[in-house]
């Protein structure tokens, strides 16, 4: 397999945590990796090949113009490595918009895909994570795009989480078909008319925000604005509840003692909800596999992202999406 191109300069912890994660993916899982960035700043790469790139796109830079003007940026070079057949996939924890723009502009869209979408895995207490898309690539959407998001999400849910027959839901403010904005109502009609049996999936109608972490739906489709708000709401909510919980554990000696007894039972849950376990969001609809990792990604998140990228290449995710939207 061709190596996974890793943007070594992208993210709050770049380059050292990114390089460490890349080394771990290579050394522990045997995944071929090529680093992209300023070779003299990467430290000990453990013998990993490096594609030299002199520029770094800042986290707050304008995505479109930075990709166009900074031709020698690490994430642009990573996308070019995929386009030029030197890498099988790209992973970046850098500027989300610029990562998406470089993947789109350099590798191109899969034929038939109107708009690429960002798919994020949302873990719940039990069962496989729910795939939410679009999580922020397209703030404004047409109803037909949501149908493609549903098709791509179903393919991803099957490939990534082994969900044999994904159940697809449309995010709305009520389960009844007539509920929601004009976009949601139009999308409902289009989704309901799709021959889902040929897609190996089922459309189960509208779902609500409370279903995102449940077991009733595998793929939740929405526009990028709503999807991003939903995702950030969940993240903020989880963070605040965990902080409050940890504070309560320390509130009295009895609580502290009890929490120590509970800790072994809570650790698997922590691992399940830890975003690092999933590596990042997947950009669906471009000709190359592209993982957009969280800006705060550390060694573990990066190693997992590379591992997922490699798995998606082996499973021919791009080919399967092409077949689904054709």
């Amino acid at each position: 397999m061709l190596p996974v191109a890793v943007d070594a300069m992208g993210g709050d912890n770049a380059p050292h945590a990114i390089v460490a994660g890349a080394r771990r993916a290579h050394e522990e899982h045997g995944i071929p990796v090529v680093l992209v960035g300023r070779a003299d700043e990467l430290g000990d790469t453990g013998g990993l090949e490096v594609i030299e790139a002199s520029e770094v796109i800042a986290m707050d830079a304008d995505p479109g113009s930075s990709v166009r003007t900074m031709k020698d940026a690490s994430l642009v070079r990573a996308a070019e490595a995929v386009r030029d057949g030197k890498a099988s996939a790209m992973v970046s924890a850098g500027n989300t918009g610029a990562t998406m723009a470089s993947a789109l502009l350099r590798t191109g869209r899969i034929k038939g895909v109107s708009r690429p979408a960002i798919a994020t895995a949302i873990p719940g207490p039990v069962g496989p994570p729910t795939v939410l898309l679009d999580a922020g690539a397209n703030a404004e959407c047409r109803a037909e795009w949501l149908v493609q998001f549903a098709q791509m999400g179903a393919v991803f849910s099957r490939a990534r989480f082994d969900v044999e027959r994904p159940r697809v839901g449309l995010l709305s403010i009520g389960e009844e078909a007539g509920k929601g904005s004009p976009l949601v109502k139009e999308a409902f009609g289009l989704l309901d008319a799709v021959d889902w049996s040929s897609q190996g999936a089922d459309f189960i109608g509208n779902v609500e925000g409370r279903d995102l972490m449940g077991t009733e739906v595998d793929v939740v489709v929405t526009d990028g604005f709503t999807g991003n708000v939903a995702l950030k709401t969940l993240e903020g909510c989880a963070k605040n509840i965990i902080s409050a919980l940890l504070e309560s554990f320390e509130s009295t000696p009895e609580a502290k003692e009890a929490s120590e007894a509970l800790l072994p039972a809570l650790l698997p849950l922590y691992k399940r909800f830890n975003p690092d376990s999933y590596g990042g969001a997947m950009l669906l609809g471009t000709k190359g596999v592209c993982i957009i990792s969280h800006g705060s990604s550390g060694e573990e998140a990066m190693a997992n992202a590379i591992s997922v990228a490699s798995e998606m290449v082996s499973g021919d995710l791009v080919g399967k999406i092409h077949a689904a939207v054709s």
Partner: protein, 89 residues
């Protein structure tokens, strides 16, 4: 610039490339169409278009760099064609 190109050819390039990017038929794209209001082309689609135009002109030995600052003035297909023709003139 080492080659020349007529306005109709530029229109053809813009229309074909835009059709490819937006998954439309070239005949569905009118010269007076607004990128945003009529064609639902977002900012990334416009950048895709700009890069595609530069690439196709390059293949015809015509060097043109479309400035990012000029992009916000390009509201319609006609604006884009006039801009390219003007820059090449």
């Amino acid at each position: 610039m080492s080659a020349t190109i007529e306005r109709d050819e530029v229109l053809g390039i813009v229309r074909d490339r835009l059709a490819e990017i937006l998954e439309l038929e070239p005949s569905d794209i009118g010269e007076g169409d607004s990128f945003q209001d009529d064609l639902d082309a977002d900012s990334l689609a416009l950048i895709e278009l700009v890069e595609a135009i530069e690439e196709e002109l390059g293949e015809r030995s015509i060097v043109l760099r479309i400035e990012d600052d000029d992009l916000e003035d390009l509201k319609t297909v006609r604006d884009a064609v006039d801009y390219v023709v003007g820059r090449l003139g």
